[in-house]
């Protein structure tokens, strides 16, 4: 196997390599350069040198299984087909850090007032109230529910502060969704974060909105996501070690970090090595 890792958690899973369709192009995956092109009938192809890789087009993205032996099907994303939702691809943004740190940041509410002031949080509204986290036995996905946080401007559609409800879902080590209060009282917006693993310390973060918003333009929705992501990026790229420690006491969680603690344990239990730091001796 030519790739930069032999971790089956990556090789035997479906990894995003960018949006579906478009002209032929190259991209990076696990230390290698892939050639992507799509037939007129929509059939995608991914080549590594002369070797055809296993690839599928789903949810508007291309997904490659590097080993060709996927351990399970790609996760479900029912909101993608739901009538009335707007699907907006916010593009891929490079981040120089382990993808595990990017997912952990995505699952974290406590940083909102400090990293996203006047958008997703504001001092002194800093408290993280108790919420529930569990691993779904049927799908092996992590769900964090009953999350709520006071936000000054929760989305492009909001212009006043409100208590916002969240649900988080981790489908794969490198993909997660969040669901949050939308402009409709009876429905939640969905935001997917799909990380393309370039190597242990670099990802391309693809963000997809599946939201209810009758007001904002696509450009406004994308600009809002880019603003938020632009605030996270310098923090993410300034971890003293770019890989996530799963063992040892190098990093100390607190009570509100239940989702992160569960995520790290879930990674440890599946023997995750890619993007992780070895425990200090």
């Amino acid at each position: 196997m030519p790739f930069v890792t032999d971790d089956p958690n990556m090789l035997d899973d479906w990894l995003v390599v960018g949006p579906a369709g478009g002209p032929p192009r190259t991209t990076r995956l696990l230390g290698e350069t892939l050639h992507l092109h799509t037939d007129a009938d929509g059939t995608p192809h991914a080549l590594l040198g002369n070797d055809a890789l296993t690839v599928q087009s789903r949810y508007g993205f291309l997904w490659v299984c590097p080993s060709g032996r996927p351990a399970r099907p790609l996760f479900a994303f029912p909101e993608h087909e739901e009538p009335g939702r707007r699907l907006v691809d916010c593009g891929g943004l490079g981040v120089a850090v382990s993808g595990l740190r990017v997912i952990e940041n995505f699952l974290d509410m406590a940083h909102f007032p400090f990293v996203h002031p006047d958008y997703l949080g504001k001092v002194p509204h800093t408290e993280v109230a108790r919420y529930n986290v569990e691993v779904d036995a049927a799908t092996d996905e992590i769900w964090a529910t009953d999350c709520r946080f006071w936000q000054p401007r929760a989305s492009a559609a909001h212009d006043t502060g409100s208590e916002v409800f969240y649900k988080y879902r981790v489908m794969q080590p490198f993909s997660a969704m969040l669901y949050k209060s939308s402009s409709r009282p009876d429905a939640l917006d969905a935001i997917g974060l799909f990380l393309q693993p370039v190597d242990d310390e670099h990802v391309i973060a693809h963000t997809l909105l599946a939201c209810f918003d009758d007001v904002s333009t696509d450009a406004e929705l994308i600009a809002f996501q880019h603003t938020i992501f632009g605030q996270d990026k310098p923090i993410l790229e300034n971890h003293a070690f770019k890989r996530m420690p799963l063992e040892g006491r190098a990093e100390t969680p607190t009570r509100g970090d239940t989702t992160s603690v569960t995520y790290r344990r879930w990674l440890r239990e599946r023997g995750m090595r890619f993007g992780t730091a070895r425990a200090a001796a």
Binding site: A110, H111, F114, E127, P234, A240
Partner: protein
């Protein structure tokens, strides 16, 4: 030097005036250790491992708050000057901060216009010779950044007629006809800093000649290293 002597060494990490009381946080290095340098409101110098114990984000992205605390940029956790102990976790305002969460702190001293750090919290007080590293009344000309090992800088300084004075890495010599005290910092395996102090007056022709000679010295050292 044996390992314990090495860890007892005092490193000139930054000019004292660059780190202002209760204000900024300066990134520092010593022997590969990344540091966050700052001062409490009373001026007491702090040198911490540049890493928040919560998620390992660099402290230098944070801010000094309330005079004597450093707040991490990521989640606003606050750590107090002196001990480095975490004293506030904003996500849980009513919860006392756990006792085991603590920034790693190193010993500091202000002497001869420089902030010095020892990569160990405990040990004897800073030696009085540090104060003699720069004669009283001299000015900081500049800090040279050199992309070579400190050992190569030492060799080059000796070749250029510098002599090591009381403390191991405080050198005396001449640059552009002005007397110079050169304080060498072993920052990283291939990164050194040379803090150049002189009696030449700021803005004078002598200072201008010193700056030119300093740039030539750097070029000579880096060129010699690349061969």
């Amino acid at each position: 030097m044996n390992p314990s002597a090495a860890s007892q060494a005092w490193h000139p990490v930054a000019p004292s005036a660059e780190v202002r009381a209760g204000a900024n946080i300066v990134a520092g290095f010593a022997q590969g250790q990344e540091l966050a340098l700052w001062r409490a409101a009373d001026g007491s110098p702090q040198a911490w491992e540049n890493r928040c114990p919560h998620r390992s984000v660099r402290f230098t992205l944070g801010q000094v708050t309330g005079g004597d605390r450093l707040a991490c940029a990521y989640h606003g956790w606050q750590y107090e000057a002196g001990s480095g102990a975490c004293v506030r976790i904003p996500a849980h305002p009513a919860m006392p901060a756990p006792r085991n969460v603590c920034a790693k702190v190193f010993a500091t001293a202000d002497a001869a216009g420089m902030l010095w750090v020892r990569l160990e919290a405990d040990g004897p007080p800073a030696p009085e010779e540090l104060a003699d590293a720069v004669p009283a009344g001299w000015h900081l000309a500049r800090t040279l950044t050199l992309r070579v090992a400190a050992s190569e800088v030492r060799g080059a300084l000796a070749q250029h007629g510098f002599a090591s004075a009381a403390t191991p890495d405080a050198w005396q010599g001449t640059l552009g006809e002005s007397p110079v005290a050169a304080l060498l910092l072993d920052a990283q395996p291939q990164l050194s800093f040379l803090h150049l102090w002189t009696d030449a007056a700021p803005g004078s022709d002598a200072m201008a000649r010193l700056h030119l000679a300093a740039r030539q010295l750097r070029s000579a050292i880096e060129a010699a290293s690349s061969h």
